[in-house]
Amino acid sequence: MKRKWIAATAMVVATGLLAACSGGSGDTSNEKVTLTYANWSEDQTPAMKQIAAEFEKANPNITIKVQTLPWPEYWSTLQVGAAGGTAPDAFWMLADHFREYAKGGQLLDLSDTVKSNNIDMSAYPKPVSDSYTYEGKVFALPKDFDTNGLWYNKALFDAAGVKYPDDTWTWQDLQDAAKKLTDPKKGVWGIAAPIDSQGGFYNTILQAGGSIINPEGTASDFASPAGVAGLKFWTDLQAAGESPTLKQLSDTEAVSMFENQKVAMYTSGAYWALRFYKNADLKDKVDVAPLPQGVKRATVTSGIGNAGYAGSKHPEELKKFLAFLGGTKAAEIQAATGTVLPAYQGTQKPWLDSMPEFHLQVFIDAIDYSVPLPVAGNASEWQGLAPQFLSPAWDGKKPVEQAAKEYQDAVDQVLAKQ
């Protein structure tokens, strides 16, 4: 309740400020201006500050204040700030929250900026740039992107005498390997099979030829034969005891299981690369391969976008800054620090070179067969339903078909609300 009050007060104050400022903000490019730039990652903050400093060098009249908010508070703070007129000027956006903000008129339209700055939209992975376009207008420029790969532990593969995964692998190869790698006596499992949408069952549903959510965004596809096949991929691994149970994966998340060398394979994004690389125990034991193919090859992809607040007091300076964030210089700084895979085409090389022992190119190659992360309707609402409806299938308490049908009905109900 307090938050709402703060928002309201903030709104009153902010409207006052807006009124006060509206007279002055014309084409005064030499006016001293401070812009705030919010993110949720301590890890990436140094790179963000470096980018900000680079921008300030070229634009001495603009100061950038980088703000880092903890992830659990990021979205509520942003929402209250946007509604109350106190949102940061520039901030990170995610595809599943994007629609709500674009629809609500909270984001600065960057279409003209793209034109006047000659920004080549085709330099970004199309699924990512598409996810930040609303009604034909560009509201955020892709910052980075992630696709999925199959992380594996070479030492555990060697110990079990299994050939390393490569780009020829099919589902069958993975299943066979998981079986051979599992060794209950040593407390080692072949793979981690959590209920993970982005790193897990979304990919396998697509690989089975399914669509997750239909293109119109009106219905989901979990109970179709392909949907069920994509879910069964994981429940079979659970049923065979080739993965830690859901309870175990709740207490110790899948990535930690992989880091502790309890599981030999883990399908997930490129964002773990630096963490694995910095782990002295893992650095020489870990590598990554493309996801195995089912009926076809597929991975979901998404990426962070840099967006601007429509209520910003300095829209012109903000546009300048956002254009800079979307450009090559900012991408190169991100790549060189090794934190993320920058979205801008051709700038990823420093990232690859920063961890030469890993075959990170698989994440870039995956762009070719990637599909945007589905974000239809009130995405945060229906995405939250997965554990509730899929746990019984993962735990073997309900047939996959039945759990998939119930899950699909629940998701469709949310999609129908819009």
């Binding site: 309740m1 307090k2 709402k4 009050w5 309201a8 007060t9 659990p72 979205w75 509520s76 929402q79 946007a82 509604a83 709500e100 903000y101 629809k103 609500g104 008129g105 909270q106 959590p194 209920i195 993970d196 859901l246 309870k247 175990q248 994966l249 709740s250 207490d251 110790t252 998340e253 899948a254 009130n378 945060s380 609402e381 939250g384 554990p387 509730q388 746990s391 993962w394 735990d395």
Partner: protein, 309 residues
Amino acid sequence: MTNVATKPVRRPTGRRTGVSKPSGWWALAFIAPATIGLVALYVWPFLSTLMKSFQDVPAFGPATFVGIENYTTLIGDGDFWKAFGNSALYTAIILLGIPLAVVLAALIEQVGRGRAIYRVLFFLPVVTLPVAIGMVWRFIYNGDFGLLNYVLSWFGVDGQFWVADPRFTIYAFGVVGIWMGLGINLIILGAGLQAIPKALYEASALDGAGRVRQFFHITVPLLSPSIFFVTILSVIAALQMFDLLFIMLRGVNNTALTDSKTIVYLFYEKAFVQFDQGYGAAIAIVLLMVIMIATAVQFRLQRSWVFYG
């Protein structure tokens, strides 16, 4: 008030008598800071929440009046009733901690030197960051490597996934909740204990009453106003439980979270994750009513057990 027995003092004439009328304004001016704070921080948000509960409030943009729709949805919402049941169960567990607090308070009172050390030790959780508490307890409760299961293994007891197994989650949180509330409760009860005249214990000892008898026949009745106060506070805090869930169930990979949501967690989820602030407001208003009813019932019940000496 103090000099009622003496002869009425004649009020001096002059400036002082003139105060009576303007004093209304002065009084208002003096209580203004408190009043403004109260109105701005409690009354206004309450009214705005009440208003929102009758509206459909999108994330951004204008709200529309929908009458009692949010409340009718709520009555038919299985998730709400489940959350209600979870909060009630959690509150019941927290109430079990109060006898424990009374016994501990009495024991600490027996300690001569070093009493303060015990108080501090029990009070530490109160001033510790909830995030830190959540992390430590997640480690204690971890099914594979947890401290609790390790200790249980000494006795040949098979460990459980205390947090990740939906059957145990609320109970596991109840234990943490009791532990977290102990510090405040012990302070309040400790103050209450010190107000009990020592002579009563001495007299009863002469009459042959043992420690246990003294506890039940002197300590508990004379402490009952403090116990009542502690109970009221505990119930209100328990019904508002949110942080433990938020911290300890982050990243769970099964139904442990869906099965253990409390009312406030549901409120958070509706208002801040799903952007449905109108519905969230309705939940908040219903929770307020539940707390008011629970408190009123306790005040009613206290007549039969609280002893005001």
